[in-house]
Symmetry: C2
Subunit: 456 residues, 2 copies
């Protein structure tokens, strides 16, 4: 039986391989055609939308084939999207450059961003303010522990590996390890149907607080460094307070004002004629809070999550009475279309040649190790015995765009006539981000399902 299953999955794998090969050749043929053959008639239609269509075709197909293969090996679909994205994103190493344009296309980048905004909105819809309040203190402690431990571990590793660098470099590298990127974890929780668990709520709450802490750290660290550089006072404590105040005001404001305004908002909307009013007005809440979050310096996905969280059925029960489908059901097709764009593109952006740089590999691997170990400090903040500590620690592992943005800012700061974050240090941070992203889905899956087994 086992053998038969294996044989089938090999056959299937072969079929998938053939299909990928065919579609690559196809895309290649068309990519070549677009520059040469078509000529004059091309003016009549098309244009940039064709490039995006090709990108969407390749990405959707990659996502579904990658997701399928990894689910066959009992891995979360999101890991398949990342890894298959990595494969097609690095085909240039084999001389195929047809997908290079995907990496720089701004429209695709924005579609990917909208994808992860839709994902976090969808995830937020599964949580309510009440539920999040209950885990508020726990989330806060998890976030704080998960910021402090990696920060000092990163500082220490940097001091070990780069003894010649100044203390500011070590502080900066410590800072790059602090912020959790919740997209991957949210997706794994969703794929496994675990969004309603205590662990999911703690992690999601902690991710929101994490993002606020990340903002503060960035402000403080760059403030200190610019103070050193210019010899003047850097960022004032008032400035830091204002950053914190804006972020906290946003979250509290979304909950309080949202709770007050939304019933009236939907009461107004329910009287509007035309199709799709309900979904449009829910999307408007999501987009508006994402936009606002961006404006106060938070990640737009934090706003999207907050929007999903504050939307409660009681606010729009009139729409349900009119026979509208639940918002969770309406948002799903949009998520199916757009979410994979984010993860496949994220995989595509991984440059495998970074791993070939032996001289930084040691530093990068140790940095990754402390990034992973550091977040396990989160589990120390859990006092409730029913909550699974391991899942929380693992769920907080992924670092994403925030770490990269920190490193990118550092790579622009010149300290004592040298770049504070050198290109090789930057590569080490990139490797850390890639590895923390890739290790989370399989480990988190095991941890979450292990808890299920224990229950039985």
């Amino acid at each position: 039986m086992v053998n038969k299953v294996r044989f089938l999955s090999q056959k299937r794998f072969f079929l998938i391989f053939i299909i990928i090969a065919v579609y690559l050749l196809y895309s290649l043929a068309f990519a070549a055609g677009s520059e040469g053959v078509s000529g004059g008639t091309d003016e009549s239609h098309g244009g940039p939308v064709e490039i995006v269509l090709l990108e969407l075709i390749v990405i959707l197909l990659t996502a579904k084939l990658g997701g399928d293969l990894f689910e066959r090996f009992k891995q979360p679909a999101v890991l398949g999207e990342l890894v298959f994205g990595m494969v097609i994103g690095n085909l240039n190493l084999l001389g195929f450059n047809g997908f290079e344009v995907f990496k720089t296309d701004v429209t695709l980048e924005i579609l990917a961003e909208l994808g992860v905004i839709i994902l976090l909105f969808e995830v937020g819809l599964e949580s309510s303010v009440k539920e999040m309040m209950k885990v508020g203190l726990e989330s806060f402690m998890v976030a704080v522990f998960g910021v402090i431990a990696p920060f000092f571990l990163g500082w220490w590793v940097s001091a070990m590996f780069l003894p010649q660098e100044s203390i500011y470099v070590h502080i900066f590298i410590g800072a790059t390890l602090t912020a959790t990127s919740v997209g991957i974890t949210a997706r794994v929780l969703k794929d496994l149907g675990k969004l309603k668990t205590q662990e999911a709520k703690v992690i999601l709450g902690a991710a929101v607080i994490d993002d606020i802490l990340g903002l503060v750290i960035l402000a403080v660290v760059t403030g200190i460094i610019s103070a050193v550089e210019t010899g003047q006072g850097g960022i004032s404590s008032l400035g830091v307070l204002w950053i914190i105040a804006k972020a906290v005001l946003f979250i509290v404001g979304a909950v309080v004002i949202g709770g007050f305004v939304l019933p009236h908002y939907f009461k107004f909307a329910v009287h509007l004629k035309g199709k799709g009013v309900f979904l449009s007005f829910c999307l408007l809440v999501g987009f508006f809070l994402s936009y606002l979050a961006g404006k106060v310096g938070l990640a737009p996905i934090v706003g999207a999550f907050a929007a999903g969280m504050i939307l409660e059925e009681v606010q729009y029960k009139q729409f349900q009475e009119k026979g509208e489908h639940p918002i969770q059901e309406l948002i799903e097709p949009i998520a199916i279309f757009m979410v994979p764009i984010f993860f496949v593109r994220m995989g595509m952006l991984v440059d495998l040649t970074t791993f070939a740089r032996v001289e930084i590999l040691g530093f990068a691997l140790v940095l990754t190790l402390v990034a992973i170990i550091g977040k396990q400090a989160c589990s120390l903040a859990i006092f409730d015995k029913k909550t699974d500590r391991l899942s929380i620690g693992l769920g907080m592992i992924p670092r994403g765009e925030v770490g990269l943005i920190f490193a990118a800012i550092g790579s622009k700061i010149i300290l004592d006539g040298e770049l504070m974050i050198s290109p090789s240090t930057y590569s080490a941070v990139v490797i850390m981000v890639i590895l923390t992203t890739l290790v989370t889905p399989p480990f988190l899956k095991v941890a979450l399902l292990r808890k299920d087994r224990k229950k039985k």
Copy 2:
């Protein structure tokens, strides 16, 4: 009773007005804030996605409020989206420039294009190859009549109004009047639930053939003119044949190859693990044929329509048996999100100052008139007495991007040392496109519903 309804609708209108005013001020405040206040912390997140979020917020809100207001006055929602789009797109005339960026944002343009692709895919899903075959000859005749009559009428009007210009200018202007832009009509048919009628099938079939004819005309006309210009032989009859062959091969290929391949395609897909496989594989068909249509020089929306048309339930019944929702239901939320982007943006691009140019207004209005009258020749191709001739003629009226593309190409050709299509002639074509777009929804609605009344 009537008075009470009117009062309520005035009150509602006032409320809508207040809301629009508030959100304009809001956007304005944030637009100002984004340049000034936020400063350093902005680096941590956000970026171009924020601009697109703001655009989506404004567009979705505009679409829903415009649609609501026009439905209250018994007009199709799409007209409200166009008109409200026109209003916010021309606020710069009142000194408000906050929305100017919307007009040039490439990402928004592509989202709009994807929106109309999704719309035509959705519309195609309501048609089957079998049904379209039945109306094939009728559609063909409608398309041919609807190309010939406006072409010669346009030629004649141009010769009347621009006697100093050469015959080639008149031919070119005639050509700009030929191609129907089916987006508006498809949307009106959909809004009224008329996609399954005989008239809808004839119009949609004719629009596909129209697009092929448009390609041929563009090739022939530019060929003749370049022959005149360079003194050499222009486009060969072989060249024209190749253009026709590519387009016809695309349509026939989609139907024949699609009919053969799709059952196997879905049989493969049904075995894939992971969520959203069915919707993804349907979208892949839509995007792939849209892309391919663009590649052979047709409008991507023709490919999207073809894709929707060739997808039949029998090909994917295994998915339905697994409990998947029908594809029509899955595509709807995506359409609710993306379709209005196309129509609101289309309205925004209307430059009202064009209408203030008195010297061209006469020519523009007569051009519009013959554009409308010319398409009524379509009804002469209808021999079936059960089909409503008036609806067909009205449904073929809208001219869109094809006319504008023709004019844009003409405005680059230099003939006898002068621009073939002068800026003022170009403006006249723009006015023709705007007016044919705006008059269609109300008239088509009356015509289609008049038929209903007759039946009763």
